[in-house]
Symmetry: C2
Subunit: 230 residues, 2 copies
């Protein structure tokens, strides 16, 4: 059975990505990071999603990105922005950008893929809806695939590890439609930048998610603190 | 003043690399890793070398590679080989290979370079003398430079971060000759796989170092447990 390492944050995108990998017939090795997030709510979701899809293994690596800093998600001195115009989010690199984050996460996924002899790495990166992050562009992943080919045992043996980024050109609505068809349990996922019992419904991440569900024609099964019109 | 992040293990190669970066006029940001090495002796050397070259900052990141495993350097169940034929070491991938290690180290260097707005990253990788590691080939670094260009803020702003690997085609003897000219204090460096007070003189790493000093026509200023003929 072919194997895949799936980067799983517990958010909507990575959980959908896991559903896609499962559907494509891979044995799943979920990889999550405890990287100094402000709250552990996402990791709880990741565990539930990995269990739901029957992952062979779910590895949670502790890597403390607060040691590097430079982002609102890992540096408590930087405010998380609210109420930005969702139409123009992609125009600038947001303060929630974590320096070289996807490169760091992919490099660990590559190590894990070497150890498990996995054929592919799935990452739920997306270039459209929530962009402005330089490491969410397709050409970046092509470049990383070349690094993976040249920098690993498997590459030397001419069995290179494939980097799969199936969500890259989907809108949030398309991602949700795909996930709904595959039975992704969105009530178990977490997107909110805050760590409350219910999602805040106000932060950029919540607003993009809500907008996506609306456009996809579904009601988000997740509970929100605020009343959302569907 | 242009800035460089220098990956500094405290070994002979990375310490020489730091001397080269200094000589090329960069302000130095040393980056070391506490990654579950079997001993902390190398890190002590890294601190001394960073201080010697007047690094602006020396960051030691704790990343626990034992969580991934798969190498004799991070997994206590795998034996470190001794007395291999130094002429044929390059023919196979050694058990001391840490899966995707250089990719992981470079990705953190990239994050650190973004935060410090550094112009370059120096890595003391070497393709000749102690090879068989897939991530020590020049084309691998070219590929990573492309990842760095496409995956960072600086790349987007058309000020890409350069990946410098000046030792890549040097023999160990050439590295040592270069370092001696630049005044690299080799007595402060550490190459031995073991963590004793003196270097063992027997492990692959010690033997390559000793051979390098002999071929360069110098006596290694480091103390060894065994009597070495120079």
């Amino acid at each position: 059975m072919k194997k895949a390492v799936v980067l799983l944050s517990g958010g909507l995108d990575s959980s959908t990505c896991m559903g896609i990998a499962k559907n494509e017939g891979y044995e799943l090795y979920a990889l999550s990071f405890d990287y100094g997030q402000r709250h552990g709510r996402e990791l709880e979701s990741a565990k539930k999603i990995a269990a739901h899809f029957g992952a062979r293994e779910h590895k949670i690596l502790k890597i403390d990105l607060t040691q590097i800093g430079g982002s609102a998600l890992t540096d408590e001195n930087i405010e998380i922005p609210e109420n930005r115009d969702t139409e123009h989010m992609a125009d600038e690199i947001p303060v929630t950008y974590v320096p070289a984050r996807n490169t760091i996460l992919l490099s660990f996924a590559l190590a894990y893929a070497e150890v498990t002899d996995a054929d592919a790495i799935y990452i739920g990166a997306n270039a459209l809806d929530y962009s402005g992050y330089p490491d969410c562009r397709p050409e970046y992943y092509t470049a990383f695939e070349e690094v993976a080919r040249l920098g690993t045992k498997r590459g030397v043996e001419d069995r290179p590890i494939e980097i799969k980024y199936p969500l890259i050109n989907m809108t949030k609505a398309e991602i949700i439609k795909t996930g709904m068809k595959l039975g992704v349990p969105y009530e178990l996922t977490w997107s909110c930048y805050k760590g409350g019992k219910k999602a805040c419904g106000v932060c950029d991440s919540c607003r993009l998610r809500i907008k996506g569900f609306r456009e996809a024609g579904y009601r988000d099964p997740l509970e929100y603190e605020t009343d959302i019109e569907w």
